[in-house]
Amino acid sequence: MIFPILRGFLSYRRAPITWLIFILNASVLLWGWSFAWNVNDRLDDLMNDEFFLQTQGHVYENYLKERTTLTPDVVRELASSGASDNQHFRLMGHLAFRDDEFIQEAPKENLFSDHVAVKRWKSQLIEIGELESVHPSFLFGVSKDPVNFRQWVTYIFSHTSGWHFFGNMLFLLIFGAALEEVIGGLGLMVVFVMTGVFAAGFFLFVNGPTTAPLIGASGAISGVMAMYSVLCWNRPTRYVYWYFLPTKDSMGFVYLPAWTILVLWLLGDLAGQLGNLEVMGGVAHAAHLGGDVAGALSGILVMLMWKWTAPQRLRFKDGFTHEMWRLYPFFNWYQTRLRTLK
């Protein structure tokens, strides 16, 4: 396992805004859990109910026979494959959730002749709709309504699960703190939100409106990582490696230039985006790519600003050069600290 660890987690005093963003995300997650625990369980039960999924599969297949909507080719191929086993209809049922037009239109029409199944499916679909309307992922996430700009910001602060939150926050605490030391707290907050918004826009541009909501801070964090890589282009960055052997040497650090982070992440996200079937869902690589691009552009912009304004160079005790100290007007204590260090 290889992981860029940089300087590890910095303390609250050294990276207050990073920790503030972390606390904000954690609060939203906890609030969401306490609020939507039962909703989540019920929604899971409904959306994974065999009978419901199979009926939805039947209805969706009949729906696709009659329509020529913008459904992905693979779904059309699947619908016309002639398979009639339960697994096929279950899969079709799952795919149907991603077709917003179907979810809106199909219940109004009579697309399947099994009255019992259709009646039950419609009632469950209504219940799913009601549950989704109060579910945090759908409240905060970017989904069907692309011009709901409030969601373009709120999605950054909400997560689906503990693991999703843990993964994103690990990167935030490492890279956010490192970037905060370079551009300051206000700068980090601005970059975090703006790259997040750009990531949402890019995601919608690439994928279009989606029934599965986009949530999580990963787009914004990609932006933070990209900006750090651009600003500290050649600075040696610490990676930790560990190959799970019970020996003394099985764990250690190596140093690579910071640009490797951007290249690796871009390659990973590009591979993910190109290698992902549209209908499969999963990780929103397009949002990551959007974040990467926004972060890299912001980094270039800041570097140009440095060049034009020729800022006063400050030096910390550890030799760390601070370029953007002017971005800290709201933190007097931080400026005081800078002066003492100077």
Binding site: M1, I2, D249, L256, L267
Partner: protein
């Protein structure tokens, strides 16, 4: 241990220091770290990007179940992985003498004799051999732990070695490492020989039993194909019309020939091809969803809404009564049925056999016969009904014929049932042909309580000493060893303990019916007169089928002890005609 080599020097370093820089043998752990780094940081991202289009192809193939596409995409993944690995190592070793990972750990790949960079062919050969080494599950890297210069197989083949530019401790292999390598090679050789022998044996067995295997595969593959077969064998009705495919599926499901998945698949087919599904479709769906009560009930309710005059509607009411365990209503419904079709007949046979009314069941069997597709089911039920109707000789002849002609599953079902019945009345070596048939087969009763009981009977009545420890391994259910222990205690004369075991098994409604019945049968023999007459009323509370099975044994025992048979009448209030007429 560090191995300095005074003859070795790097040109640049030598110029700077004017002293030859020593070379050190690279530590395996550093080489592993370098490899992990190369794969994780360089090769994996390039591989992911290069294979992205094939990943889409793979997902696509999986989704639409296109095997060709899946295989092609998998091969492309494997080929690209190997090519990227080889190309990366080849170019890096050729031009830089090191890869990115090796550079970070200050390792270099050099010619083992001259210390110079590798030439094109050796660099390429080494890269290919390194890639192939992964196919040996790492065994080709093990020489690194045994030879003094820590050269892996790729190094040994192409006269190369990996050196370290930093001093290393313990660079030459320790004695323990060499022993580890020998151990691993020994183990690998043993596993290889064992796997080869097993493979050879399987191939030989396969060629010997090719017919059996193909039959086995055919059986596995044709669970739903049995509906196709049944359709070709199904008799034409009085109206000169053939039964619909769904009706045949329902009849086969009722007879236990096809499973629920098959039935649902047939029902789904009908729904796909017709605009308005028939009442039979709803009936089929209610069976197909029998594990979800509310769904099944909704379908059942819809059957009569769809067509109140159909036989499906009548059958749906019967099924509804079955689920409520209203047996009298079922009896009445079957007798008053206006359009009894074959599906209803099969359910009627099953119902009346379950309820211990073989005469009624026999009437329905005659009504359905002949039907080749249901032949096995009807043959088995006929034999069972004849036996229960006390036509012992006919039943035994029928069983004998059936055991020669039926498929395996049906044979075992019938033989185990007959063996238990025959030996319950008379236990000696010649009492049961079915028991003798069972004894001649190598059958596993792990998941079949009825077969386990039959095999217990067969051994008990064989006249030879019983092997209790082997018998208790016959079935995996927890109560089975208790039943074997009960037989053992009964034989040894400890009746008090045996009766305790009986109560433990027989009174527990969660135990399999066959085990409970067997416990009751044993109890009838062991109990004293007072307890026996007293417990008759308890037995009468048992499900009808169990009571029906126990009755002959109970009557025999009461007669044997010269007890009044009226206790049966008093407790039951309902005695089958055949029992009353018994001399």
């Amino acid at each position: 241990m560090v191995i300095p080599d005074p003859n070795w020097s790097f040109a640049e370093d030598a110029q700077k220091t004017n002293q030859p820089k020593p070379k050190y043998t690279a530590k395996p752990i550093d080489r592993l770290a370098a490899q992990v780094f190369d794969i994780g940081v360089v090769i994996a991202p390039i591989f992911l990007l290069a294979t992205a289009p094939f990943k889409v192809m793979l997902y696509h193939g999986f989704l639409i179940e296109n095997q060709e596409e899946v295989v092609l995409a998998s091969i492309a993944h494997a080929c690209l992985g190997v090519v990227i690995f080889i190309a990366y190592h080849f170019f890096c070793n050729l031009y830089f003498q090191t890869t990115l990972g090796k550079h970070l750990f200050r390792l270099q790949v050099v010619d083992v004799w001259t210390g110079s960079p590798l030439n094109v062919w050796r660099s390429l050969g080494r890269a290919i051999m390194s890639a192939l080494s992964f196919l040996t599950l790492g065994l080709a890297f093990l020489p690194m732990l045994s030879n003094d210069r820590r050269r892996a197989l790729a190094d040994l083949c192409f006269d190369s070695e990996v050196i370290s530019l930093k001093p290393n401790k313990g660079a030459t292999p320790h004695r323990n490492e060499k022993w580890l390598v020998r151990g691993v090679y020994g183990l690998a050789t043993f596993i290889f020989l064992f796997a080869s022998m097993t493979l050879c044996r399987s191939v030989l067995n396969y060629s010997a039993n090719q017919e059996d295997l193909s039959a086995w595969f055919m059986d596995r593959a044709s669970k739903c194909e049995s509906i196709d077969e049944a359709m070709s064998q199904w008799p034409v009705g009085k109206d000169e019309r053939k039964a619909s495919r769904l009706r045949v599926s329902l009849a086969l499901y009722a007879a236990g020939i096809v499973d629920r998945k098959c039935l649902q698949s047939e029902a789904d087919n009908e729904a796909s091809f017709s605009n308005e599904p028939s009442s039979l479709y709803y009936l089929a769906q209610s069976f197909a969803h029998s594990d979800e009560t509310d769904v099944s009930d909704s379908y059942l309710k819809q059957v009569c809404d769809q067509d109140a005059q159909s036989s499906s509607c009548e059958l749906s009411q019967i099924v509804s009564a079955w689920s409520q365990e209203d047996w009298e209503r079922m009896d009445k419904a079957f007798s008053e049925m206006q359009h009894p079709d074959v599906v209803a007949a099969v359910w009627a046979i099953r119902h009346f056999m379950k309820q211990g009314q073989p005469e009624q069941a026999f009437t329905w069997i005659k009504r359905v016969s002949p039907n080749k597709a249901l032949g096995n089911f009807l043959q088995v039920q006929r034999v069972k009904a004849l036996w229960l109707m006390n036509h012992t000789a006919e039943a035994q002849i029928g069983a004998l014929q059936a055991l020669e002609s039926l498929p395996d599953d049906w044979q075992v079902d019938l033989a185990s049932w007959m063996c238990t019945q025959e030996t319950s009345l008379e236990c000696n070596k010649n009492a049961s042909l079915s028991c003798n048939w069972l004894a001649g087969q190598k059958l596993s009763a792990q998941d079949d309580p009825a077969l386990a009981v039959a095999m217990l009977h067969a051994e008990e009545c064989s006249g030879e000493p019983m092997h209790y420890s082997e018998l208790s391994q016959l079935n995996t259910l927890s109560s089975w060893p208790l039943l074997v222990r009960l037989v053992k205690e009964e034989k040894s004369g400890d009746k008090e303990f045996a009766i305790k075991l009986v109560k433990k098994i027989a009174y527990d409604e969660n135990e399999p019916e066959d085990f409970r019945l067997e416990a009751y049968r044993r109890y009838i023999e062991m109990a004293d007169n007072h307890s026996l007459t007293k417990s008759v009323s308890d037995m009468r509370e048992l499900p009808q089928q169990m009571w029906r099975e126990l009755q002959p044994r109970l009557v025999q025992e009461l007669d044997h002890r010269s007890l009044n048979r009226n206790v049966l009448k008093e407790s039951s209030g309902r005695m089958p005609a055949s029992e009353d007429q018994e001399p």
